[in-house]
Symmetry: C2
């Protein structure tokens, strides 16, 4: 019979100890985690970044990854965009009773591979189990800690008129793919999530270009929402050109079918960058050297510092205000 996660796995007793010592340590062992203290302990100094995200994506397994790798990359990305090299992550599971143990193993293996791939260690964790229909298979929370080298800290730089807006690659893939998947549509191999670790190109970029003034990964709410956040944070008007936005054909097709604009669809491996105009082309050339940012493109610029607003120059030549995501419902895509 298939082994399932039981409520008692979350009770703090013998079964939980077995789960931790046999299953978790098998996949995630490292000297800090192996101590199994109430807290992980390590030496660290400097300017630190600290972030958290919970992942409630459905389905939990999907093309391009699963909820496990997503929970590693997503949190590592939130560190990388502020210029931090991710070092340590915490891992907390909220499991609905009845999850097949083999699914938990698959997720642990995926977490193991993702974290090894980007050189971070899971150093502390927690497991709770809730009753059937009080959760949904598995929710994961990761928090992460990283160190910001002084030259990578863009926070004091001022976004201003003439700065360029860059996206690191084709947009809208994660959200649209997950919606297609959820609708049960058969899709080609190229139709998949863009999930990946943006630190692979963001950190070297920050090392090389002092003209980088802002970086954010365009997850929930998509590129349009990030641009509005920038407009409000720096009180600037931003103009982007629809023609310039790099978008895969399948994304455009899916967006027509589903009525979801790629500009509002979540990405899991793309960032929006604001940079000094004088370095713009060098930045693009630099980004093109990295696999995950090979299609980096300048899509617009800051036009005034008078008020917070984002405009889209459309393909047909009109100009319209591009607002933040409103009430639209794309639930549980991350």
């Amino acid at each position: 019979m298939e082994k399932l996660v039981l409520l008692s796995y979350g009770s703090g007793g013998e079964l939980m100890r077995e789960l931790i010592e046999k299953d978790y340590l098998k996949y995630l062992s490292n000297p800090i985690l192996d101590e199994l203290l109430d807290s992980a302990v390590f030496e660290l100094s400097g300017k630190l970044a600290f972030t958290t995200d919970s992942y409630v994506i459905t389905p939990i397994f999907f093309k391009g990854g699963d909820i496990g790798s997503l929970s590693v990359y997503g949190t590592a990305n939130d560190l990388a965009v502020v210029g931090a090299k991710p070092l340590f992550i915490s891992l907390s599971f909220i499991i609905e009773e009845g999850l097949p143990i083999k699914d938990l193993h698959k997720i642990l293996e995926s977490i193991s591979n993702a974290s090894k791939g980007i050189n971070v260690n899971v150093v502390t964790g927690d497991t709770k189990v809730v009753e059937k229909n009080k959760g949904d298979k598995i929710f994961i929370n990761t928090a992460g800690i990283g160190v910001i080298e002084p030259n990578r800290d863009w926070r004091s730089r001022k976004v201003d008129v003439d700065d360029v807006v860059i996206v690191s690659g084709d947009i809208g893939e994660h959200g649209l793919y997950i919606m297609l998947e959820r609708l049960g549509m058969k899709t080609d191999e190229i139709v998949k999530s863009d999930m990946g670790y943006v630190g692979s190109f963001v950190l070297p970029l920050l090392d090389n270009f002092e003209g980088i003034k802002f970086v954010r990964d365009a997850t929930r709410g998509g590129v349009a929402t990030v641009l509005n956040e920038i407009a409000y944070k720096y009180n600037v008007e931003i103009e982007i050109e629809e023609d310039l936005i790099p978008t895969k054909d399948w994304v455009l097709q899916a967006s027509e079918i589903l009525g979801i604009d790629p500009l509002y669809s979540a990405n899991e491996g793309k960032v929006v960058i604001i940079a000094d105009k004088s370095q713009a082309q060098d930045i693009i050339n630099f980004l093109k050297k990295f696999e995950l940012s090979a299609n980096a493109t300048i899509i617009g610029k800051i036009i005034t510092n008078k008020k917070p607003r984002v405009y889209l120059l459309t393909k047909i030549g009109s100009r319209r205000i591009l607002e933040s995501l409103k009430g639209d419902i794309l639930p549980r895509i991350c």
Copy 2:
């Protein structure tokens, strides 16, 4: 009409921004959080502790606290028991759609009060909303970071024969009270959770006594499970005396009714301490000065370093092996 949390609050768009800027910052504002970057950024140096816990307790409001204060104290306690002063916490909500906004406000207020009371700041956060019956009102994850002053680091000290076993006060209250509450039993004012911040006495204790060799808060699995963890970690036999264990009358009565041994019932403000015999009485006298450890008691000692085992000398004079919590189900008490 009562305002409810909608799925779109978790979508990353306008509604989420309103929730963050109006509601979260109202209760939790501090200079680091107010930046609203993808990661919190702060300077910190030294030996750091890092921990995480998810809270899925039901009911979410209870006598002695609620899921909000529990999520602050629980994570602060995991830091304090390894000798760390808690400084920063992350806060991540997984909300079932339909939660009344007033409940969310009540929880935010409770988080605000608890964190101010122990001088920690919520510096980063996340909100996800899941559909009806895919969650249960609200789950909270907190991760925490603290700093360990060198003199508070007990990890290298060796637990050995003749060391004493101390509990910091009356045991079993949180778990038994939550079970009574869930059964809908009317209870006196004194019948409540013991939830509290153990750092209030653990940190000064570590400053004053080098003979403290181990500290752990006895949450899920209770005192019996922590004692077994100690026995296995240090390969020692531990003997405790039932007669010495401080327990409130209502706990003993509830434990008879519910068939749950207080030694296996969760505490949320109690720790198990292993200490050098020579300092034992001074430690007890010191602990008695603090409100949360006023009833600290020596309940046993380490008797051999031959094998991992815990014994209970019962009131009727027999001696039995006290095992870890087995399959027993006390789900969702934290």
